[in-house]
């Protein structure tokens, strides 16, 4: 069975949209982090699909996806550390409780 490229792109756009909605609607910092991860994976899916269909003989898209995964891991490490340190101050991970600066 040969899945056309468009299907992958639609799946990736849907994933990106779900992530974006999560970022906009969720008030929990960890859930926002997870939504952003979803958007990152949508980008990865794009990269791998384009790499497979448009440049089947080159690995640059897949390499890009690998680098993005490494960067995403680093981002999560830093992000969770920041959320942990804010939790020690405020005892909450809800954005509505972080009110020194207006959002």
């Amino acid at each position: 069975m040969n899945v056309p490229l468009e299907w992958w792109l639609i799946l990736s756009a849907v994933l990106f949209g779900i992530g974006l909605i999560g970022v906009l609607l969720r008030r929990n910092a960890v859930m926002i982090l997870l939504s952003v991860e979803l958007m990152l994976n949508a980008s990865n899916l794009n990269l791998v699909a384009f790499s497979r269909y448009i440049t089947p003989n080159l690995a640059s898209g897949q390499m890009f996806a690998l680098f993005v995964m490494a960067v995403a891991a680093a981002e999560v490490a830093v992000g969770l550390a920041i959320i942990l340190s804010i939790y020690r101050n405020v005892r909450s991970v809800d954005l509505d409780d972080f009110n020194i600066f207006r959002w």
Binding site: L47, L58, S60, F67, G79, F98, I100, W103
Partner: protein, 476 residues
Amino acid sequence: MNLTINWSQVNWLALTPEMIILGFSIIVLLGELFLSKTSKHMLGAVTLVGLVASLVSLGYIWNLQATEFNGMFSVDLTANVLKAILLVTTALVVLGVLKVNVLMGEGEFFSLLLFSVLGTMFMASSADLIMLFIALELTVLPSYILTASKKTRQSTEAALKYFLLGMISSVILLYGMTLLFGLTGETNFAAIAGKLAGHPIQPALVASMLMIVVGLGFKIAAVPFHFWAPDVYEGSPIPVASYLAAGPKAGGFAAIIHLFPLAFGVVAPAWAGVFAILAVASMVVGNLVALSQTHVRRLLGYSAVAHTGYLLVGLAVATKLGYASLIFYFLVYSLAALGAFLVVLALAERGFGENLKDFAGFSRRAPMLALAMAIFMFSLVGVPPFAGFMGKLYLFREAVRSDLIWLAIVGVLNSVISFGYYVTVIRQMYLVSPSEGEAVARMQVSKPLFASIMIIMAAVIVLGVYPNAFLSIIKL
């Protein structure tokens, strides 16, 4: 893209400034681990040596034009000038904080600072989407940690806001990059331009361009992606805020200057128009909101947003001279902003607050620092003979030359508005006496901090009186 690299053919000379910074950041990190508590204070001096060594090696390859690692990394004059500005401003920050408590291990602070500098340098030299994305992350990840380093509620809240907004903008940028990759099958800027030339413009190309504008617009704090800037400048420790105000934006501007004319050359009028709109929005919003601020660092944060607006005029012009005047104004702005932050640091070190009212009587407490602060404020407004005037003159002259007269008029009007809040700072320092019963004693300032502020003040005056000294270097 060919993934195999012939290591013997790599011109390592082109990478020496980056290699030196990388080496020193590792040395400083190891120093934090192995040095005794009493000898750690010299790590700041080691960092300063590294930055100066990198600057010297940059001067050695100043006119080199090279592309290394299969087109991943390219060196040209634009990249070199922006790297030099970054290194000079960061060196001045390090000099200023040599005797200041940086609130975390010295080694950690300085090595994170160097890693962020390294990322910005790579960003300035990236000629490939993969490289640009990784360099950008290397720039911002240490900044998130540095912002949170005070561990107070204010500092961590600023860091969380910076982190979440930064990550969302990175993801949008990345999605735009994947679209660009999908359209062309290439990741190299020049190769993308080659593939797109002569083909009809597709909607996906415009979408990709807009997404990349969002991502990079966040890094340079352009309205409407500026929400993090005032909070981070106010909430982070002052040494970190001084670094963030000057350095990392160089990477964002260098990336835009390298990426857009090449990869989006076919839709050039579209992105020039987008940058013109962002320029007007940033100038107006930044200046108007700054008028009502009472916290000096928050005021400087909104002033930074407004100045991003002035700088975007250079991108809206989209000519070589436009970019050159952008770079000159970037130097002028980052020096004055950095100087202002260091003056705030000097006050905070002596236990003064950071609100406008805490500047009352400053001219009697520390006449030299007050004079320097006044000069920085005048330079930010654009009053001759200081550097800001020449910078704005060149920028707006390029706008007029490219038939963007309305943009130049908006810029000049905004400079007039900005006079309102900058002059409040000067009025507080010179005309308002401190509250009754408060003794006005001479304020002590640590010598390196004082030296750093004086160097910046001298540079702001020299660049204003004799800008050719710098313009001949960047070949304007």
